[in-house]
């Protein structure tokens, strides 16, 4: 199985030397263009759309780097599998935890705590001396 998966790879790799260096420059230009787009849209206020847009652009950039700079298109099946598996578990972890956060009552979030908590900390920090004398 592993051997069969390896056969086309060695053929693909012998072709890899012939695709030329031009391809890398094309990918580089696309990556720079997407960097420009993500900075440009980062300055815009798109509300809740900012994060999904930035993550979509980052994912496209990451995919280009993996497929062409890291030559995933020419990698053996087993290598594709082990690397992709790490991303699958990354998503499982993020989605699982975020599913919990997303469905919580907002009252339980630290940022929704009563606003007195903020100034209270400042008072303690501003007068470290007198605080123990109350007790």
């Amino acid at each position: 199985m592993a051997h069969a998966g390896n056969e086309p790879t060695s053929k693909a790799e012998s072709h890899a030397g012939t695709h030329g260096a031009g391809r890398y420059f094309v990918i580089w230009a696309i990556l720079l263009a997407f960097t420009g787009i993500t900075v440009w849209t980062g300055y815009m206020d798109l509300g809740s759309l900012n994060l999904p847009l930035a993550m979509t652009i980052a994912s496209i950039k990451a995919t280009l780097v993996i497929l062409f700079f890291m030559h995933m298109t020419e990698a053996a099946g087993a290598n594709r599998l082990v690397f992709s598996a790490s991303f699958i578990f990354l998503f499982v972890m993020i989605i699982g935890v975020f599913g919990d956060l997303w469905t919580r009552n907002p009252m339980t979030l630290p940022s929704s705590a009563p606003s007195t908590e903020g100034p209270e900390i400042e008072v303690i920090e501003a007068h470290p001396g007198p605080a123990p004398s109350h007790h």
Binding site: A2, N6, S10, A16, G17, A21, Y24, F25, I27, W28, L31, L32, T35, T38, V39, G42, Y43, N50, L51, A54, M55, I57, A58, K61, A62, V65, I66, F69, M70, H71, A75, A76, A78, N79, V82, F83, A85, S86, F87, F89, L90, M93, I94, V97, F98, L101, W102, L109, P110, S111, E117, G118, I121, E122
Partner: protein, 219 residues
């Protein structure tokens, strides 16, 4: 590699004695590298998860704290890393087609880019230390004092960018070692797998930054 090389495998100085053929050795070391890169993704995954949780807890604090970062410096570092990814890919290509001088030049350029990245990172860190935008209990930035949770943003900021900067230093060292091998003629068109693996590590460094930049600077 032709089949005649496989038969003469034991005379190949690059072939470890516990592998039958150079093809099997190449397959094993590539699989090992991709497995390692997978664990690297999972290592950063934990930090990205921490980011997700704390950003959800302190959404406004994270927004205001990220405004204190310099987007120009962050974007410059993104361009530096993407360009170094190009140059290391070109170095790998050059070794494969037997252009030794070009490969050495591209590796040197990549290492210069890595140094440039670290210098810019140092400028950013120095500013953070100066204004007191530090992690956890060391946080002492009056301009962000009214946002509880801003200290956690800088905890995540220093952990993620710090671990990434450590990877930049390791990647630089690996590429320096690869460049030495190319210079001494150890890595050539006939045997280039170590160059390939070094380049893969460097691309991973770029990959992590591609996600760190928008998550830290552009929120």
């Amino acid at each position: 590699m032709s089949s005649s090389d496989a038969h003469a495998g034991h005379h190949n100085p690059n072939l470890a004695h516990h592998f039958d053929t150079i093809e099997k050795q190449d397959h094993a070391v590539r699989l090992g590298m991709w497995l390692f890169l997978g664990t690297e993704v999972l290592l950063f995954a934990g930090l990205f998860l921490g980011y997700t949780v704390y950003r959800h807890f302190y959404h406004d604090a994270f927004h205001h704290a990220s405004r204190s970062l310099n987007i120009t410096l962050g974007a410059t570092n993104t361009v530096v890393l993407i360009t170094s990814s190009l140059s290391v890919a070109l170095a790998y290509y050059a070794v494969k087609v037997g252009k030794r001088q070009l490969a050495l030049g591209m590796l040197a350029f990549t290492i210069v880019c890595a140094c440039g990245f670290l210098v810019i990172k140092y400028v950013e860190y120095a500013h953070k230390f100066h204004v007191g935008s530090l992690p956890g209990k060391w946080f002492n930035d009056p301009s962000l004092a009214k946002y509880p949770g801003a200290n956690l943003y800088f905890t995540v900021y220093f952990l993620t960018t710090g671990l990434h900067a450590f990877h930049v230093i390791v990647g630089m060292s690996v590429l320096l070692w690869v460049a030495k091998g190319v210079y001494k003629g150890r890595y050539t068109a006939e045997y280039y797998v170590p160059v390939e693996l070094g380049a893969l590590y460097w691309h991973l460094v770029d990959l992590v930054w591609i996600f760190l930049f928008p998550l830290l600077y552009l929120i």
